[in-house]
Symmetry: C2
Subunit: 210 residues, 2 copies
């Protein structure tokens, strides 16, 4: 009906790729306005289709959000891989590199990060692909731990178990930073970097005095 040629893309926009268009419209809305803006009707509107069209590609809202967070896990994995390439091969520096990548990701994609880990809106169990995506990230930590052990710098033990400990630190730090619980330590320029490095140093050296 509307014969305007405004900001809308041409009618044949989704050459069968509406699914992808919806995911990216959702990512945009989430980044712009938070969880509140992530509603199915707005997503459809932004993708240029009717509010019923998404149901051709997603069973329900949860399924769309699952697809969105899956994309988030891919982004996170890429971010960490890039960081690992740009940082020294020294194992400790690799841990710091991962940590900074993780925390920066959380700060740059706060709402996405919340959706990825809150457990509030999607039931992980239902979406197997999400599980796979997060395992990919987990493997990155494990590899670094293993290399650190091989070079004799890290303590011995099951690398995957140690990676779990590392992930806990990373994740807790990232969440507490974005939820403003690490103030005033994160204040000022380079505040985030300082706190992150300090955290990994503390983990590396341990709490025990010797």
């Amino acid at each position: 009906m509307e014969s305007q040629s405004g900001p809308q893309k041409p009618k044949a926009y989704h050459h069968g790729d509406l699914r992808n268009a919806l995911i990216h419209a959702g990512l945009e809305l989430l980044a712009e306005g938070g969880a509140q803006e992530l509603d199915l009707r707005k997503v459809a509107r932004r993708a240029g289709v009717s509010h019923a069209a998404p149901y051709r590609h997603f069973a329900d809202k949860q399924a769309l959000i699952a697809a969105i967070t899956e994309e988030g896990f891919h982004w996170l994995a890429e971010r960490i891989e890039t960081a690992l390439r740009e940082v020294a091969v020294e194992p400790f520096e690799q841990l710091v590199g991962i940590a900074l990548a993780y925390v920066h990701f959380a700060q740059e994609h706060t709402w996405l990060m919340r959706e990825m880990f809150s457990g509030l809106t999607i039931e992980r169990e239902t979406f197997e692909s999400l599980h796979t995506a997060s395992k990919t990230v987990y493997r990155l930590y494990t590899d670094v731990i293993r290399r650190g052990q091989e070079s004799g710098k890290f303590v011995t033990g099951d690398p995957a178990a140690l990676a779990g400990v590392f992930w806990s630190v990373l994740h807790g730090l990232a969440i507490l930073i974005i939820e403003k619980q690490m103030r005033p330590y994160t204040d000022g320029p380079e505040g985030t970097e300082r706190v992150t490095r300090y955290t990994i140093e503390s983990l590396y050296g341990g709490f025990a005095r010797r």
Copy 2:
């Protein structure tokens, strides 16, 4: 109108304490059915008032959830204080005690924990009391760290900063456990306890080989 005398409390139920009744109705609904069940109309129904009544006590849904999570922070603080009293005074064991209390709390009050930290539904900034409540918990860690330092067992440094590191580990671990990211390590009886203790041991000893 309804003249049934069923499970409802008598009419004069809220002797001016509707506010509290709403908070506890909300806590119940959250525990029973998760975030989805936490809706204002259901909360009002459970408290035995009309759906408009909550607006006498809370500006909006967010304000009610803020009050609910504030109660969560009080529970968490009590849980940790109790654990600290029941555990040995040896500093390392106190860290383990806090960690177990935190993780168990997360497992027993999963939905509440998610609301407390997800950042998805309430904007912390708006509710100053929430900030105060979480600081109370933070102080518990700091005290233990300080005592550990005084007894010469822990490394030196700003106790509050070290407490931040400790909280990161705790929180990351709790979240990753309830979001099922620590499988298969948490499987089996005592799985949670084993993983938690292992995590605190790793933090205590550090990742660096010596």
